[in-house]
């Protein structure tokens, strides 16, 4: 393994220092924590929108700090949920008096730690709501399992909830619109290679030169199926069809899409995938209102991509299209 790191144990700490060094006017770090918040947090009279989770998904989470998206972002160790006490500090620091929405990806660790944090914050009289994102259509959903994972669709939740909060929505309204995204979004991913975590220093799983993994998550966990290498077009078709199967869209529906890179895949290849994704959507009679292509929710240096589709209505279009000025995602009027 070769990485641009110092001590693996300092990885997250130094990354956060590097982010603050790059954006000292936009973000600050809560003392003694791995939490970054907007420099101007808490914003009086605005619902706070916060997120967090393991590190290794950059620009998620702190990259989305800023106007129109997140107020706070908690970084756990690589692929490990942040601890409840730090999550609580974040919630408190982002409460401008109107309460705080926590956007949680559906992983047991994240859910349990955020739950505990919410309970702790409510003891401090902070109103806290939670929305749990579970957009990964690769995983079977059932009451008896942990359910689906939260993956790249989370970025749409950040964007929409953040815009609603910026527009003056109250905690219930912000929560409802976040839930609307969760109900209408699906994602499916694949990997050409495993990522390498700084601690382990070796690929989390082994993939042959002629194999790919379908239905991977974002933590280097193996996927739901291993198959022979496919062309970019076949990958695009497979991922898109799986998501569409799950969403059950109607002819003429408008959608927003993300072709997301897992970290090690060049942008050129993501565009090659997007080309076919958009063709497939067109074949299904869908209209793409907005198409994002890039690294939004990564898995360290993993090669691969995911396809996210969100069904839109007028409200979601307005919020998705609203201005945002964050470290990694900006949108003009």
């Amino acid at each position: 393994m070769k990485k641009l790191i110092n001590e693996p144990g300092d990885y997250v700490d130094e990354m956060l220092d590097g982010m603050v060094a790059a954006h000292p006017k936009r973000v600050r770090r809560l003392d003694g924590t791995k939490v970054l918040v907007r420099a101007d947090a808490p914003i009086d009279g605005k619902v706070g929108v916060v997120s967090g989770g393991g590190s290794g998904h950059e620009p998620t989470h702190a990259g989305y700090l800023g106007e129109g998206m997140l107020d706070g972002a908690a970084a756990g160790e690589v692929f490990t949920s942040p601890t409840a006490d730090q999550l609580e500090e974040m919630v408190n620091a982002c409460d401008g008096g109107e309460g705080v929405l926590c956007v949680v990806k559906n992983y047991e660790g994240d859910v349990m730690n955020f739950e505990t944090a919410g309970e702790m914050a409510e003891m401090e009289e902070v109103e806290v709501a939670q929305v749990v994102v579970d957009d990964d259509v690769a995983v079977e959903d059932s009451l008896y399992t942990s359910g689906r994972r939260g993956v790249c669709g989370t970025i749409f939740v950040h964007k929409v909830a953040g815009a609603k909060a910026a527009a003056g929505g109250d905690l219930q309204e912000v929560t409802e619109v976040a839930e609307k995204v969760v109900d209408n979004v699906g994602t499916m991913g694949m990997a050409l290679t495993s990522c390498i975590t700084p601690e382990k220093g070796e690929p989390t799983f082994d993939l042959g030169e002629d194999e790919i993994e379908l239905g991977i998550g974002i933590h280097g966990e193996p996927g739901v199926e291993r198959t022979d290498v496919m062309s970019a077009d076949e990958v695009a078709e497979h991922l898109t069809e799986q998501v569409l199967d799950d969403l059950e869209l109607d002819d003429g529906d408008e959608v927003a899409t993300i072709v997301n890179g897992m970290g090690g895949t060049p942008m050129s290849e993501l565009y090659i995938v997007n080309r076919r994704v958009q063709e497939v959507l067109g074949d299904h009679g869908l209209e793409t209102w907005d198409a994002w292509v890039g690294d939004y929710m990564t898995s360290l240096d993993m090669m691969g991509c995911s396809v996210t589709v969100l069904r839109l209505d007028d409200e979601l279009k307005e919020l998705l299209g609203a201005p945002a000025d964050t470290l990694a995602l900006k949108r003009m009027d």
Partner: protein, 214 residues
């Protein structure tokens, strides 16, 4: 030495042994987690127990009763481990520590074990057979309780039987299909792999036994 003092020393010794064992098994645990999870269980547990050793090294620890000491262990795990293991190990330890208010006896240790198991299941919602630490915990706790309450065995013997039961639980996770935790995402592909959290549970119990035997 006063009784409280002896118990304090025993807890500190146990923690040292557990921490050393986890450090030793760190990459083994991570390897297990690589196969069906995200390759961090060894690092998570090790970070947590190193922090516990440090925390117990402080002056505060000298004044504490066994319940507060154990509570501090739980809290330290909560705020240093994260992930699924943090709230499960740390939260349950913290909440169960109240059972030790009157010191560690055969009875309070059974109560601690039962509450600990209950809290793990409250939080994680995993039944037995979901391929998690619960599969190792349930037989261990049940065996310990029965050995003491029904069979009137001395705690050391009971603990030794619990460790055996726990080990069988760990082996039992291998052929199971995961329904909870990250391994559940792999569905059928999780069959044939041993659960990391069940395994670390066994290591901890083994070290408790080891300490008790000394």
């Amino acid at each position: 030495m006063a009784d409280a003092e002896i118990q304090r020393e025993a807890i500190l010794a146990a923690i040292d042994n557990v921490a050393a064992r986890i450090a030793e098994e760190k990459s083994y645990l991570t390897d297990l987690d690589s196969a069906i999870g995200d390759a961090d269980h060894g690092a998570n547990m090790n970070r947590g127990f190193q922090a516990v050793v440090e925390a117990l090294d402080g002056d505060d620890a000298e004044e504490m009763g066994p319940d507060d000491l154990v509570k501090m262990v739980g809290k330290t795990i909560i705020s240093n481990v994260g992930g699924a293991a943090g709230p499960l190990y740390g939260g349950s330890t913290m909440l169960a520590s109240a059972e030790l208010e009157g010191g560690i006896t055969a009875e309070t240790s059974v109560a601690f074990a039962e509450t600990y198991l209950q809290k793990v299941q409250d939080r994680g919602k995993a039944e037995i057979g979901a391929k998690t630490m619960v599969d190792a915990l349930v037989p261990a706790v049940h065996t310990y309780k029965k050995s003491i309450e029904q069979d009137d065995l001395p705690p050391l013997t009971a603990l030794s039987k619990a460790v055996d039961a726990c080990e069988r639980g760990v082996r039992y996770t291998v052929p199971l299909r995961a329904r909870k935790g990250r391994a559940s995402y792999l569905d059928w592909r999780s069959v044939g792999h041993q659960d990391p959290g069940a395994t670390s549970t066994l290591f901890i119990l083994e070290e408790l036994l080891e300490t008790a035997e000394e």
